[in-house]
C-alpha cells in the first residue's frame, strides 16, 4: 500500500518536473490555456508510460524502442501545442526537456553507481529507488533554474543572441545525452541494479568521470555564455561610442561653420559700417545667414541635463540641433532627473532614435514645423511623449506599422516595424499612437 502511494506521488512529481522543464527556459511566459493543454498531454504521457511499464510483458526489460518512440511521440504533440509560430520557443522547450531528462537519468545512475560501489548488500532497494529519483528530479529542476538564471543574467538582448546561446547549450547537452544513452542508460532504473552489479570496476570509473565531465561542461558553458555576452556587449558599446563620436564630430562641424558664418557676417557688417554704406548694411541685415539664427532657441533645451542615461542624452541633443537646423521649433520638457528606464540602453536609443527621425521627417514638410519631447515620472510609471506637427492626418495608424510601409520611397519604412519588434521583448511597456488635428503623438509608458 505504502509503495503504491509512493509510486503515485513519484508519478505526480515526475509529471510536474516534466512540465516545469518544458517551461523554465521560455523567454516569454505562456498563456494559461496553452499551459493547461501541455499539462494534460504530459499527464497522459506519464500515465501511459507507467501503465506500459507495469503491464507489458517487457516489464523489467532494460531497453525498449517502443518506450522511446512513445515518449518522442508525446513530446512532439506537446511541442506542437507549445507554440506553432516561434521556433525559439519550441527550441527552448525541447532544450529544457532534454536537459531535465538527461540530468535526471544521469544523477540517478550516478547515485546508484556510487552506492553500489560502496556496498553491494543494500536491503531496501525499492525505497532507495524513490530516494534516488526524487533527488535527481530535484537536482535537475534546480539545474534548469540555474541555467535560466544565467540566461536571464547574460542575455537581455536580441532574439539572435538568445538563439545563439540556446543552440550552443543544446549542442553541449545533446552531446552529454548521447554519451549517457550509449553507456549508462540502456536499462531503465528498475533493472539497473542487476545491470550495474554485473559491471566491472572500470565502469564505475567511467560513470564517475562522466559525472565530472558533466559538471565541467556546465561550468565551461556558463563561462562561455558570459564571455560571448561580454563580447557582444563590448561590440555594442563600441558601436554606440562610434555613433557618439560621429555625432560629436558633426556637432563640431556645425559649430565651426556657425562660427565661420557669424565671423564673416560680422566682418561684412563691420566693413559696410566703416564705408558708411547704408544700403549694403540694410541688405546684409535682411539676408542674414540662416545658421546664425537657427540656434536661438537653445535656451529652451535646458531640461536635457536631467537625463542621466548614457547615450540618450547625446542622442536627443544631436536630434535637437538637427531639427533646429531645419527650422523646426523644438520643445523639450524634462522637469525631474531621469536616472534609468526599464529598458536596455541599446533598445531604448534605437526606439527614441527612430521616433525622433520620423518626427523630424514629418515636421519638416508641415506648415508650422514643431516637435515636442517630454520625459517625466509619475508615481507608478515613467512616460516619454513625442509630438510633432505633420502635413496631413495619417489614418488608420495601423497601416504605418506594416513591414515596408512608408511615405518616403524605397528603402525606408522599417522604423515602426522595428519598434514593434523591440517591444515584443518588453511586456510591460505600453505604446500609444495618436493623431489630433495635424499633431502626431507617440507615448511610451514604462511601469516602475
Amino acid at each position: 500500500m505504502l509503495i503504491k502511494v509512493f509510486d503515485l506521488s513519484l508519478i505526480l512529481l515526475a509529471l510536474c518536473s516534466k512540465f516545469f522543464s518544458l517551461n523554465i527556459l521560455q523567454p516569454v511566459p505562456l498563456h494559461s490555456k496553452k499551459k493547461c493543454v501541455i499539462f494534460l498531454v504530459l499527464f497522459i504521457e506519464t500515465m501511459c508510460m507507467n501503465i506500459y511499464q507495469y503491464y507489458s510483458p517487457l516489464y523489467q526489460q532494460p531497453f525498449s524502442w517502443f518506450r522511446i518512440i512513445l515518449s518522442l511521440f508525446f513530446l512532439t504533440i506537446t511541442l506542437s501545442f507549445h507554440s506553432s509560430q516561434k521556433c525559439i520557443r519550441v527550441f527552448s522547450a525541447f532544450l529544457g526537456y532534454i536537459i531535465w531528462d538527461t540530468s535526471e537519468t544521469a544523477m540517478n545512475s550516478l547515485f546508484t553507481a556510487i552506492l553500489y560501489a560502496l556496498d553491494s548488500q543494500i536491503v531496501h532497494r525499492e525505497m532507495l529507488v524513490y530516494v534516488f529519483s526524487l533527488t535527481s528530479m530535484f537536482i535537475s529542476i534546480i539545474l534548469l533554474f540555474l541555467i535560466r538564471f544565467y540566461l536571464s543574467k547574460c542575455v537581455n538582448g536580441t532574439p539572435t543572441q538568445r538563439l545563439f546561446i540556446v543552440s550552443s547549450l543544446f549542442i553541449n547537452f545533446s552531446m552529454i545525452s548521447l554519451f549517457f544513452y550509449i553507456y549508462a542508460l540502456n536499462p531503465n532504473w528498475y533493472s539497473y541494479f542487476i545491470f550495474l552489479s554485473g559491471m566491472q570496476e572500470i565502469t564505475y570509473v567511467v560513470i564517475f568521470l562522466l559525472g565530472c565531465l558533466n559538471g565541467i561542461l556546465i561550468c565551461t558553458l556558463v563561462t562561455e555564455i558570459q564571455h560571448t555576452h561580454d563580447k557582444q556587449y563590448q561590440l555594442q558599446t563600441i558601436e554606440v561610442k562610434a555613433t557618439y563620436a560621429r555625432e560629436l564630430e558633426r556637432i563640431n562641424q556645425i559649430d565651426n561653420s556657425y562660427r565661420k558664418d557669424s565671423l564673416s557676417y560680422i566682418q561684412k557688417l563691420n566693413q559696410s559700417i566703416e564705408e558708411e554704406d547704408i544700403n549694403t548694411l540694410k541688405e546684409l541685415l535682411n539676408n542674414a545667414p540662416s545658421s546664425i539664427f537657427a540656434l536661438e532657441h537653445s535656451s529652451e533645451i535646458d531640461g536635457i541635463n536631467n537625463i542621466n542615461i548614457n547615450g540618450l542624452k547625446s542622442l536627443i541633443h544631436v536630434k535637437i540641433i538637427c531639427a533646429q537646423m531645419q527650422h523646426i521649433i523644438f520643445h523639450l520638457e524634462i522637469p525631474e532627473p531621469i536616472e534609468s528606464l526599464p529598458m536596455v540602453p541599446y533598445d531604448l536609443i534605437r526606439i527614441v532614435g527612430i521616433f525622433l527621425d520620423n518626427a523630424i521627417d514629418a515636421a519638416k514638410d508641415s506648415p508650422n514645423p514643431y516637435i515636442g519631447l517630454a520625459l517625466y515620472q509619475l508615481p507608478d510609471q515613467t512616460i516619454l511623449i513625442l509630438e510633432n506637427s505633420c502635413k496631413e492626418q495619417v489614418l488608420p495608424i495601423s497601416s504605418l506599422k506594416e513591414k515596408g510601409s512608408t511615405s518616403k520611397g524605397k528603402g525606408h519604412g522599417m522604423g515602426l516595424y522595428i519598434i514593434n519588434q523591440i517591444l515584443e521583448n518588453y511586456p510591460d511597456v505600453v505604446l500609444y499612437t495618436q493623431t489630433v488635428s495635424n499633431l502626431f503623438i507617440q507615448k511610451l509608458s514604462f511601469p516602475k
Binding site: Q85, E333, G372, P379, I383, P396, V429, V430, P447
Partner: protein
Amino acid sequence: MINVYLCEDQPQQLTYFSEIIKRELYHPFEAQWKTSTSNPEKLLQTIQNAEKTTGLYFLDIVLKNPVCNGIQLAYKIRQIDPRGYIVFITSHSEFSYMALKYQVEPLDFILKDLQNEMENNIKKCICTAIKTEQHRLQNDESLIPIKAGKITQYMASNDILYFSTRSSSHRIYIHTLSGEVSFYGSLDELTKEMESYHFLRCHKSILVNQKHIRTFNKKERYIELSNGEHCTISATYVKKLKELLT
C-alpha cells in the same frame, strides 16, 4: 451630481478662489461645493471617502508639497476618479506642459495672470463640466478598464473601434478613433473581460466594437466600420455574427 474641490497652497489665493467658485455654484442639483484645502494628501483622502460621483477639481500646478506636485496629484485623482474634470489654475509660464496635456487630459487651464477674466473662466469650466456630464449620462458612455501591463487604463467604449493582434505577436493593438494603443496580452482573455461591453469576435485576431459596425457583408465576409475600415470575418464566426447582427 458633481462634487467641486479646490487645492491651492497659498492661503490668500485659496480663500480668493474658493469665494469665486462658491459664488458661481448656483446649480444646486448639478454641482455642489465639497472642500478646499492646501494639502494634496488631505484632498486625496476626502475624494476616497466621498461617495462615488464625478468630481470637478481646481488644482494649482505648482504645489509646494515635496512629495506631490500638481501633476502627480492630478494623476492620483485620475486613478481614483477616472472621468473627473480637472482644471488647472496656473501662471502663464507653466501653460504648455506636455505632461499635463496627454497624461491628465485636463478640462481647461485658468490663468492667474488674467485677474479680470478669472471669474468668467471659472464659470465657463463649471458649465462645461455640467454639460459634459449630462451628455455622458444621456449617451451612456461607459468607461472600460483595460489592464495594459501593470497599469489599468480607462478608455471610453465609444472611442474604441476594435482590438487586434498578430499571429506572431503577444501584443494587442487597440484601434481607437484617433490612434492606436499597443500592450501585452491575450485576445482570448480580453474577449472574456469585454463580454459585458458589446464587443464581438469576428476573427481569431480581431475583436470588434458592436457600436461601430456600419455594414455586415456576409458574402464577402467582412465588416465595414464607421470610419471606413474593413475587418475580415473568419468562417468560424460568420454564423454567430449573422445571428447577432441581423
